[in-house]
């Protein structure tokens, strides 16, 4: 009974010093550490007539956990870690649900077999490239984000189950394969923190990606042709500046330009090179 109290009396000041030192070290490390942003936002559902399709959606692991890490180039800069994965899934879920009569998530072997006969087509989105600018030379917290997506629309036959929880698809069986760009900029210069400003720029970029997708989906020639064969034609107003960079299904994936830290661009390249894409789930 006496020993612990004696021990605490002896080690009390030492413990305080240790705690103080740990706090100081923590502060120093926090000052040197990377700035981290987990993108979060409220995404409205699209206001449009639903396309009468049952769409299967495969979110690849790299899409669900998409993040970019940018290492500081100099002493004045800080490392940045921007995690967009969960926001991507939330956003595209909201958009697809609002655009199509039924949306089915295909994330496992069981899910694949359960919906085999119901699904009209499966869409697989990828973030092919993501770049952003940091206002290094101004104090204004206005960030800009560019994103390049690749969408693959495939038939259910193209998706194969390897039995080990891994789903693969054959790109040669794609109905359509196209890229889409999005841009977002912090809409106000009066935000308190850099993290908040980056988050807002990412949310604006996601919204822009959604607007681009919603207005251009039916205009992608391969998609339009496929919808035409199904007699599923929806007239949509033309976007003001939307640009659809269509690429044929047999065409090689374009390599991303600039300083992308996205892992998915390599996955896309690999999948094309192997002639068999992997959508591990």
């Amino acid at each position: 009974m006496v020993a612990p109290s004696l021990d605490s009396m002896i080690s009390g000041p030492n413990r305080l010093i240790r705690i103080g030192f740990a706090l100081l070290l923590g502060l120093v490390l926090a000052a040197c550490g990377a700035k981290q942003v987990v993108v979060q936002g409220n995404f409205p559902p699209p206001l449009m007539e639903k396309t009468p399709l049952t769409l299967g959606v495969v979110y690849t692991e790299s899409f669900k956990t998409h993040e970019i890490y940018d290492e500081a180039a100099g002493r004045e800069e800080t490392d940045w870690l921007v995690k967009t994965g969960s926001a991507q899934v939330e956003f595209w879920d909201t958009l697809f649900t609002g655009m199509f009569t039924e949306v089915v998530h295909i994330d496992s072997h069981d899910a694949l077999h359960a919906v085999e006969d119901e699904v009209d087509a499966v869409i697989i989105p990828y973030v092919e490239d993501l770049q952003y600018t940091i206002p290094l030379h101004t104090n204004v917290k206005v960030y800009e984000i560019w994103m390049k997506y690749r969408f693959r629309l495939v038939t259910m036959d193209a998706i194969h189950d390897h039995g080990n929880g891994e789903l693969t698809y054959n790109p040669n069986q794609s109905l359509a394969d196209w890229t889409l760009s999005a841009y977002g900029k912090t809409p106000t210069a009066f935000l308190q923190s850099d993290e908040e400003a980056v988050n807002l720029a990412a949310v604006v970029a996601l919204r822009d990606a959604g607007a681009n997708f919603a207005t251009s989906f039916h205009r992608v020639p391969a998609v339009a042709e496929w919808l035409d064969t199904r007699n599923t034609i929806t007239e949509l107003p033309a976007p003001v500046t939307a640009s659809v960079e269509e690429s044929s299904t047999s065409e090689e994936s374009s390599t991303s330009e600039g300083s992308s830290t996205s892992e998915e661009s390599s996955t896309v390249d690999e999948s094309t090179a192997d002639d068999e894409g992997t959508t591990s789930t």
Binding site: P44, P45, P46, L47, M48, E49, K185, P187, T188, F190, R207, D208, G210, A211, N212, A214, T215, E235, L236, P237, A238, P239, V240, T241, A242
Partner: protein, 235 residues
């Protein structure tokens, strides 16, 4: 008695100092840089009747690559109209954009009243417009920029206190144009533009004294007044 008297003198001195401080702060608040404003109005179709229980939405143009109409400027004009005539329903810009997603994003927003027809072809969009009873859609295009800046200021902190010394000046210019669309007739019914500019100063002798020219605020008031006059013309 003496003690009470000295207390009162100290109290009065304190009051006087407090009063001086308040007066100085009020004077500082009144110090504003000069602003020049020009407003041009061009109305094609004067309203023949009030908008009744219909609503108005004010939206900023954000599709240009080099500038964006500020969200707070749009909010300022909306507040100005609401304050001037509380019977006019001015919808909040962000709420409207969210409600209409994705049709009023920078890349999809209609550029001319003729585009409304194409939007209305979508049944859910037409229903939403019918629900909010939109009568006028007002587009604001423009921004406020810093035109020039000069001067220098040095601040320091020492054991005796902190202070700044120097002089800084900068200019701001606003250029905004409001385009009014009659939503029912799907036509443009008026354009109001405002150009404002002003010079702000910041002299500092120990304490920096900002003399700010309210350039954007004046642009907001000018444009807000003209829009208010248009919207409540027949009330």
């Amino acid at each position: 008695m003496t003690i009470a008297g000295s207390h009162r003198v100290v109290w009065l001195a304190g009051q006087a100092r407090w009063g001086l401080t308040v007066t100085a702060l009020m004077l500082l608040g009144l110090l504003q840089g000069c602003v020049t404003a020009t407003v041009d109005e061009m109305t094609f179709l004067e309203p023949t009747e009030g908008i009744g229980d219909s609503s108005v939405v004010i939206l900023g143009r954000r599709h240009a690559p080099d500038y964006e109409t500020e969200f707070d400027f749009i909010e300022c004009i909306g507040d100005h109209i609401r304050r001037g005539d509380n019977s006019i329903t001015v919808l909040h810009e962000l709420e409207f954009i969210n409600m209409m997603y994705p049709w009023f994003e920078p890349r999809t927003a209609p550029l001319g009243p003729q585009d409304i027809d194409r939007l209305m072809a979508q049944e859910p969009v037409a229903n939403q417009f019918s629900n909010i009873k939109l009568e006028y859609m007002i587009w604001i295009d423009g921004s406020t920029i810093e035109t020039n800046s000069s001067g220098s200021m040095t601040c320091g902190v020492g054991p005796g206190g902190a202070g700044c010394f120097g002089f800084g000046t900068w200019g701001n210019a606003s250029e905004y144009e409001a385009t009014i669309w009659d939503f029912t007739d799907q036509t443009e019914v008026g354009r109001i533009s405002t150009n404002t500019s002003g010079q702000s100063y910041m002299p500092a002798v120990v304490v920096p004294i900002p003399i700010i020219a309210p350039v954007q605020g004046t642009a907001c008031d000018s444009l807000g007044d003209q829009l208010l006059q248009y919207l409540s013309a027949t009330r």
